[in-house]
Amino acid sequence: MTTYRPEFEAALRLFARVSEAMHELGFQRPILVGGAAAEFYSQSAINTGDFDLCTPRQEALEAEMQKVGFVKPSGAGQMTKGWIHPELRLGFEVVADIPMDGGYDRDTLALIENFTNEGAFVVISVEDLIADRMGQYASGTSRDRLRQAQTLYRLHPSLDKVYLDRRIREETINDYGIEALES
């Protein structure tokens, strides 16, 4: 059986811990977006370099991250807004308050339960992730994203196609729709 790579599972466990801590404080859990969300939805068919997170409570989240061992990098790494975990050798970075400038439907966010007994965590929907890849493809700056989007689409046959089509059209200013994934 295919599984996630161990480094990614370790990162997910840390993400679950800090997500649960935020939840305990009465804040919304941070949202996993970007390449790590693509790794989550592909079961490590792509290996990402770090975790991109969205939260309007950056200060509180980073305080919780420090409690589980994250530190600011030294040396050239001082330029980053991200944090690294020296023992697990992985990085987390808050990239925005909300995903995709708020263009997504919050009710499609996925609360992942029973991954670990340390807490649940939230991941952007696979539809929005695909739409995000298509938006980058349509912008002409990331032509490699089309194949990512097509593979994610094939991996999740039960996704909401109506919502996906709408979100692709929004992210690509109507240049593309769901048919671009089926070619």
């Binding site: 305990e24 970075e93 966010l109």
Partner: protein
Amino acid sequence: MIMASKRLKAEEKWTGRRVDFPVFSDALSKRRAELGNPELARNSGKNRTESKKALLKAIKDAGGNW
């Protein structure tokens, strides 16, 4: 008690999808196998922000192999 109450309230407010990880992971494994375990094209990395480049370098310097 206060924390438990806050937590219960937040859970009641969740209106998004709920995903049971073992069920999700098992279904995804089967789907991947059906499709011949496709790989996703890796990002070229040319659109990374300076912050992202610095973070990835720091991870690499720490011995990370991502």
